[in-house]
């Protein structure tokens, strides 16, 4: 059996197969990138939303929360927090969000604590804009329910 299983053939499959599937992956990536603007409503991606994303990153929010299911699993999913806490109403959500950010940490003994990030009013607004924008991305119906 061994002489009918050659290193040369195994090598060809490695190089050929690797290149084949990588090229196919690149082709699919090109297609994905061209249709993404529609799926995530890029026209709604304002400077405020972009700034909100920077604040999200600068404070390492993903270290506790998940966003569209990715991140840490220590705190609730925030991809649909706009629906869950804001009832899909921007004013309601922003008021709730601002109050929430200011009330942290709760200091309840033994409970998980969210740090106080000392964000300015504008920054809280932009972060809220980012979360609202995120909640409108077409995620193939994920999460299954409002609890995320």
């Amino acid at each position: 059996m061994s002489e009918r299983f050659t290193k040369g053939m195994a090598r060809n499959i490695y190089y050929g197969g690797g290149a084949f599937f990588f090229l196919l992956f690149v082709a699919l990536t090109v297609d994905t990138v061209t249709v993404l603007p529609k799926r995530e409503n890029r026209e709604l991606l304002t400077a405020e939303v972009a700034h909100g994303k920077e604040i999200w990153e600068k404070n390492n929010c993903v270290g506790c929360h998940s966003l569209l299911g990715e991140g840490a699993y220590f705190a609730p999913e925030l991809g649909n927090v706009f629906q869950r806490r804001g009832m899909e109403n921007e004013q309601v959500f922003k008021a709730y969000f601002s109050a929430w950010m200011k009330a942290m940490p709760t200091g309840v003994e033994g409970r998980r604590q969210m740090p106080q990030f000392h964000l300015k009013e504008q920054e809280i607004n932009d972060l809220a804009e980012f979360l609202i924008w995120t909640s409108r991305i077409d995620t193939n119906d994920w999460p299954p329910n409002i609890e995320g």
């Binding site: 290193k7 799926r39 994303k53 990153e57 569209l68 740090p115 995620t139």
Partner: protein
């Protein structure tokens, strides 16, 4: 050791083990915070501890890969390393930058760290696993370039074997895909899409090449099986890894905004992903069965064989468990993901680095292997670590199942909220913490085996002089 320059692997291995201990300490802190929410708050908030835990893992695994490369490339190419001095300089650069980064995480709030490292010029921070300040990322690229140059020049000068060619392509891929960590568009979906080009194409792509070549090296050395046989299996296994793994990236594109077809492509190709891990297991065991020599280093063989089993379980079985889109719809971002992540990283990458350390360290000390007493302790530590990691995985899987049943599957209004579900899982988190402490005990036992080894040096088989 056959070549003087292999000695540069030593500081890399030592530093890797030191960081490993740090990683476990922070893992235990995290495990505690899952139960006692305000543990160490506000000194070490969860996000900081987690960042330290995962970044230490990445840093020490990379350190282990570099050490492994410096150890095996001279032996494979049959010539000394191009520049041992450069390897030392890069080691200190890497160690200092890594330590400073971790100190930065722990000493100032993350936002302050972002400011003092001028993150605003090229914002790359604050994304899972890529939390390092931009300047650290640039440092990593520079170290990687120097490292690749050093290794590449050595390979160019010496014998080109399949093992060192596969290893260098893996390392090259590692460096190339890391460049995507500098791409951080304002669009979240685009950001996530290319974030996986680093994360997935690392752990389910190029890292598997590194894993395969280190495993092949250890098996050639310890079993004495024909190089030709080992090499063709290596090619075939990594070919399968790439064929399934590249489009398998699609299983991360289900719910982040990417088009619907990824649901199908991701499911189909990741269903094939366990195959290379299965083949790796069959390969390792058949090589060991056909062995032509009894290498005295049983511990290294145990690590290598165990690595293939645990990698198959963690990456193969636990990966497949939740990779199909209809399943992942409910498990995405739950504790099931954490269960898979722990076992896969431990089985595939932690164990292979510890395997090469186990094989190389005695030789770097001038022994063919450690004494029997030391190996006994080491093998016991392997069992403790593997069993406790399996326990952690099973417990996290149970936690994930509860989360899915209570929080994800019921309809709106009936489903339990996130925190209410977490409260329900607390008893399991307690058991997980116990398993985590047991794992820490395994690590201590492992380190103790080095003490035993140096105490019983006299009983260890000596390295053949002319070899």
């Amino acid at each position: 050791m056959k070549y003087q320059s292999q000695a540069v692997a030593k500081p890399y291995f030592a530093f890797a083990m030191l960081l490993f201990v740090g990683q476990i300490v922070f893992g235990l802190i995290l495990g505690t915070q899952y139960i006692i929410g305000d543990f160490l708050f506000p000194e070490i908030p969860f996000n900081v501890a987690r960042m330290v835990h995962t970044n230490l893992l990445i840093v020490w695994l990379l350190c282990g890969f570099m050490g492994a490369t410096y150890y095996l490339v001279p032996e494979e190419t049959q010539c000394e390393l191009y520049s041992p001095k450069l390897a030392w300089i890069l080691f200190w650069a890497y160690a200092i930058a890594g330590t400073l980064t971790i100190v930065g995480y722990l000493s100032v709030p993350y936002a302050t760290l972002a400011e003092i490292t001028y993150n605003n010029i090229l914002p790359t921070m604050g994304r899972e696993f890529l939390e390092q300040p931009t300047i650290t990322k640039i440092g990593i690229v520079i170290v990687a370039l120097g490292f690749l140059f050093n290794v590449g020049m050595t390979i160019l000068r010496g014998r080109k074997t399949v093992i060192n060619m596969v290893l260098i392509t893996g390392l090259l891929g590692l460096a190339v895909f890391f460049l995507f960590s500098f791409y951080n568009p304002a669009s979240l979906t685009l950001d996530k899409y290319f974030w996986w080009w680093v994360v997935h194409l690392w752990v389910e792509g190029v890292w598997e090449l590194i894993l395969g070549s280190i495993l092949a090296f250890i098996l050639i050395k310890t079993t004495g099986v024909d190089r030709e046989v080992v090499e063709k299996w290596l090619y075939l296994i990594i070919a399968m890894a790439l064929i399934s793994g590249i489009l398998g990236t699609g299983h991360h594109y289900f719910f982040i905004g990417a088009p619907e077809y990824w649901l199908w492509i991701g499911s189909v190709f990741s269903a094939v992903e366990p195959l290379p891990f299965f083949m790796m297991m069959v390969f390792a065991f058949s090589m060991i069965k056909q062995r032509r020599r009894e290498h005295p280093n049983k511990a290294a063989v145990t690590w290598a064989a165990g690595c293939t089993i645990m990698a198959f379980l963690g990456a193969g079985v636990w990966g497949f468990l939740h990779t199909l889109a209809p399943v992942n719809y409910y498990t995405h971002g739950s504790q099931i993901t954490a269960a898979h992540g722990h076992l896969a990283f431990f089985g595939a990458y932690v164990m292979i680095v510890l395997a090469i350390i186990s094989y190389a360290w005695p030789q770097l000390q001038g022994r063919l292997s450690n004494s029997l007493q030391a190996q006994k302790v080491e093998i016991a530590s392997i069992w403790v670590m593997c069993v406790s990691m399996l326990m952690i995985t099973l417990l996290l899987t149970a936690a994930g199942i509860i989360q899915v049943m209570q929080q994800r599957m019921p309809a709106d209004g009936i489903a339990l909220g996130y925190m209410a579900t977490q409260d329900l899982i607390v008893p399991i988190y307690w058991a997980r913490l116990v398993a985590g402490i047991a794992f820490g005990g395994g690590v201590m036992l492992y380190l103790y085996s080095f003490v035993v080894a140096s105490r019983t040096q006299a009983d260890a088989p000596a390295l053949p002089v002319s070899a």
